[in-house]
Amino acid sequence: MITIIPVTPFLAAEYTLLAFVIVIVGGLGSMTGALLGGLLIGVSEAVAGLLLQPSLKSMVSFGMLIAGPAAAAAGPVRPRNSS
């Protein structure tokens, strides 16, 4: 990742949180879910940075963190837990 982003020590907490968001959106313990969640978060961040504000992209991903499990719990289809 050093090749695509400049590294500072303060980057760590941000990426820990981002990885958490992706893992929870994709389903805990599911490897395919983690990859698909990464795609989802990446696209939503890029599109939100273009359409809304670049500083609002974290808000979109955290909103997905809240909305995704809430919608999955409320809807008829429960997420498949592969763990």
């Binding site: 020590p9 990885a19 599109v47």
Partner: protein, 212 residues
């Protein structure tokens, strides 16, 4: 809208490519959670330590980050083997444990403080290497070469590599079997040997057993 549609397509492309990098990042966390049942709070910190190592290797030794990547991975594996075998980061079937997560958090804080921030925190980038890898363009879209490499690695079938690295990655871990990472009785941690006295107690780590 016609003026923003190439921008939107570019944003979606970049988002897909960045998302594959994010997916690889989250895959690490997911594998750690699936195998060890530990929520690794130190994931980003260890990633940043790895990035700093790659930067040091590039800046001072002129090693390409793609070449130093497997070396750093093996280095981290060796560095984490002994503490993971000794500490409470061992796998337990009792679900995600609080004390292992707190241990990870402590590692995170320690690693974050040990990183070079005594001077003005400068952002470090392997920019010369990045300049040498030219982006690919198709029509109005521009693809970053590094992200394309990562996407290629992301889309490949990872199961053979994971099976070589960890044969139980897809299965429920048997804690009694995972407890001996070295395979030799002499190098086994003492607490693991004590835990094996009773088969029911060996499932849980020492701190999680009921007090008698």
């Amino acid at each position: 809208m016609t003026s923003t549609s190439p921008l939107l397509a570019q944003a979606i492309t970049k988002g897909l490519l960045t998302g594959m990098v994010y997916g690889l990042m989250a895959l690490g966390l997911s594998v750690i959670f699936g195998v060890m049942r530990v929520v690794n709070f130190a994931h980003g910190e260890l990633m940043v330590v790895g990035m700093y190592l790659a930067w040091v290797a590039f800046e001072y030794l002129q090693v390409s980050p793609l070449l130093s990547l497997p070396v750093i991975a093996v280095l981290f594996f060796g560095a984490g083997l002994r503490p993971a075998a000794r500490a409470d980061l061992s796998p337990s079937s009792a679900g995600p444990s609080i004390s292992s997560s707190c241990c990870c958090w402590a590692i995170a804080i320690g690693a974050g403080q040990c990183l070079p921030r005594h001077r003005r925190p400068r952002s470090r980038a392997a920019s010369r290497w990045r300049r040498s890898s030219t982006p690919t363009s198709s029509g109005p879209l521009v693809f970053d070469a590094v992200r394309l490499h990562a996407a290629h690695g992301c889309c490949r079938d990872r199961r053979p590599a994971l099976a070589v690295l960890h044969p139980h990655a897809h299965r429920q871990v048997d804690p009694r079997r995972r407890r001996q990472p070295h395979g030799r009785a002499g190098r086994r941690p003492r607490r693991a040997a004590a835990l094996r006295l009773s088969p029911s107690a060996s499932v849980r780590p020492a701190w999680a057993r009921p007090v008698r």
